[in-house]
């Protein structure tokens, strides 16, 4: 009886051992497989080819002869991108898989990789995820444009140059459609073309007022406005009248009976005042000091008895004023270029100022020797001068 009981216990023990042995490979604590997920680009664009890499790895618990069998699956927002089976053992503890994925929608998306391993005791590391933001296709690097993108770009450029040329040649009457509203209109036409292009080809970026506004650089505009405020305050305070008065005083300035500047020196200074006092727009000083330019121009013309000199003085002054908005630190055009090229403020100013000083002289010379313009009011004086010159030459020839 006792023997039978002992036999039963032994058999039960043997059976439980055998049972445990059969179950062990499936429910053993030695299987722990982890998964890792990565992509070759962090900010993919819609329609591009993205390589997703999944690594399935045993955490070092598999003993010799043991195996971990399973299947890895990658999903994008619930949609299956790919599936692959794997078998890991002590000699081959990891497997790497590459899946190719083409994002079909813009916006944020989540890639999830999940490893389903039979008998995995630790499910917390069976899943890995990757948050990505899919952008609009760019492909705008030179030479890499799609056909539709090229057409849109060419059309945009063509419209811009057409408006510039048509306005210059007078095809677009400026009294009806000035250049500024024409350009604003052109902007909306380009937006429409890009919208149509964007519906045909994803490589063309569709944009609206928001994107346009984001492209506007506020700094030069705010500098320009504050520059105009400064000019307005100077004008209101009578500073430009003081400048004209100062120039007249300068002409009369003498040291020991000798004129320091004289009329010629004062005219040279007057012509270059706009560049010395560079304003955000040449019109400020051109309008404010024009009476002084006319006054000194007439003085010079009468002094040298050459009526054409008034045009020489006035236009030398004007070209100087026109160019002066380039080097102006208070919202000049130069500041846009300096900002764009990340150069220190004012680094392009000196070179421009020297160029303008020479350009003023060249304009005066061209007016003196090439263009020769006598104002109608002084035409009679010029006719008398020419007559006198002829008579003098004749007399010299006779003598």
């Amino acid at each position: 009886m006792l023997v039978n009981r002992a036999t039963t216990v032994c058999l039960a023990l043997l059976a439980s051992l055998l049972l445990a042995g059969a179950v062990l490979p499936a429910a053993s604590a030695t299987i722990d497989v982890a998964v890792d997920l990565s992509a070759n680009v962090q900010s993919p664009v819609k329609g591009s080819n993205v390589t997703v890499t999944v690594v399935v790895q045993d955490q070092g618990l598999l003993a010799a002869g043991e195996q971990a069998v399973g299947e890895v699956q990658v999903r994008e927002n619930g949609t299956v991108i790919g599936t692959a089976p794997y078998t890991l053992d002590a000699n081959n503890r990891s497997s790497t898989f590459e899946f190719h994925w083409t994002p079909s929608e813009k916006g944020s998306c989540v890639l999830v990789a999940r490893a389903n391993t039979t008998g995995d005791v630790n499910v917390s590391n069976d899943m890995a995820s990757l948050n990505l933001t899919v952008g609009a296709p760019k492909g705008l690097a030179a030479g890499e444009l799609s056909t539709v993108a090229t057409i849109v770009g060419v059309l945009a450029l063509f419209i811009f140059f057409f408006i510039i040329i048509a306005s210059t040649l007078g095809w677009i009457p400026q009294d009806r459609l000035p250049i500024q509203p024409a350009l604003v209109l052109a902007t909306f036409v380009i937006v429409a073309i890009a919208f149509i292009g964007g519906t045909i080809d994803d490589h063309v970026e569709r944009f609206g007022p928001q994107q346009l506004a984001a492209k506007i650089i506020i700094h030069p505009i705010s500098a320009l406005i504050s520059g105009f405020l400064a000019a307005g305050a100077l004008e209101a305070a009578g500073a430009f009248e003081a400048a004209a008065d100062g120039l007249q005083r300068l002409e009369r300035l003498k040291i020991r009976g000798t004129a320091v500047f004289g009329i010629t020196g004062t005219v040279v200074l007057l012509s270059n005042v706009p560049t010395i006092l560079a304003m955000p727009c040449g019109r400020i000083l051109a309008a404010a000091l024009m009476p002084a330019a006319l006054f000194f121009g007439l003085r010079v013309a009468r002094m040298y008895m050459m009526p054409a000199l008034v045009s020489v003085v006035v236009f030398a002054f004007i070209v100087n004023a026109a160019a002066s908005c380039g080097p102006a630190l208070i919202g000049g055009i130069g500041t846009i270029g300096e900002g764009l090229a990340a150069l220190p403020t004012g680094s392009l100013s000196d070179a421009q100022q020297i160029g303008i000083l020479l350009c003023t002289g060249v304009t005066a010379l061209v007016f003196k020797w090439v263009t020769i313009s006598v104002p109608p009011d002084l035409a009679e004086e010029e006719a008398e001068r020419v007559e006198l010159e002829r008579a003098q030459k004749k007399a010299e020839g006779v003598s």
Binding site: A141, T168, L183, A236, I318, A322, P344, L348
Partner: protein
């Protein structure tokens, strides 16, 4: 000593005169504000490395000071504002944004690079230098009533072409010569754009002079354009040889 006292008396009289409300008082206030403006601008230029306040802020403070000294009202200030260049710049920036987003600059760059590489029987027609010269002078060839229109619209294209130009000469991204080359082209283009409102027949500044002298419209255009072409070249040479600015 007597001379010094005399100078002091004259200075006191001058400043006393600024409080008068007649024409002489206004002229004196004009002198004070003009000198103040020039001194502040000179200081801003000389001490720019130490001034960490934007120029806009300095100018607004200056405006308030000038208005107080010059006894000017807000109405006087607003009457002196010229809206034309502000509108021109805004229009220029709008079209610049549209061109950039529509790929216009890529096409411009592609077209200019093609032009620079255009060869006939093995000889470059324009080459990179020739295309740069034309590009820098475009604002004077097509003068607008305000240089800011073409300046704002095409400056990014000029900058991109400058980088392509530097690449064509094999200048690396960290090369100082590359920065100088781009700066020279940008400066030349700005010079040409800034001056181009002078000879413009679409309401350029030259029109003021022509109107005042009773000359036909466009009479001053060629002389001004000749001067600007020279100035553009001079500005380029000075930037390249003397100033040599390096990007920050």
């Amino acid at each position: 000593m007597a001379k010094k006292v005399n100078i002091l008396v004259r200075v006191i009289r001058f400043f006393k005169g600024t409080f008068r409300d007649d024409a002489a008082g206004r002229l004196k206030r004009g002198y004070v504000t003009l000198i103040l403006f020039m001194v502040v601008l000179t200081l801003v230029i000389m001490l720019r490395a130490y001034i960490h306040v934007p120029i806009q802020t300095i100018l607004i403070i200056l405006v308030i000071l000038i208005m107080i000294i010059g006894k000017a009202k807000i109405q006087d200030l607003m009457a002196g504002l010229i809206m034309h260049p502000i509108m021109a710049m805004t229009a220029g920036f709008l079209i610049a944004g549209a061109l950039g987003l529509a790929g216009g600059y890529d096409i411009l760059l592609k077209g200019l690079s093609w032009l620079a590489n255009l060869n006939v029987a093995g000889f470059a027609i324009l080459g990179w230098v020739g295309v740069s010269v034309i590009l820098a002078n475009i604002p004077t060839i097509m003068p607008m009533p305000c240089g800011r229109i073409i300046g704002a619209a095409l400056l990014l294209g000029v900058f991109l072409f400058g980088t392509a130009l530097a690449d064509s000469y094999g200048l690396g991204i960290n090369s100082a010569a590359r920065s100088i080359m781009i700066s020279s082209l940008v400066a030349a283009f700005i010079m040409s754009a800034a001056a181009s409102c002078g000879p413009s027949s679409l309401g350029g500044i030259g029109g003021i002079g022509e109107g005042n002298l009773g000359l036909p419209i466009g009479r001053s255009t060629l002389a001004q354009s000749a001067g600007i072409l020279i100035a553009t070249g001079i500005a380029t040479v000075i930037i390249a040889i003397v100033v040599q600015p390096i990007s920050g």
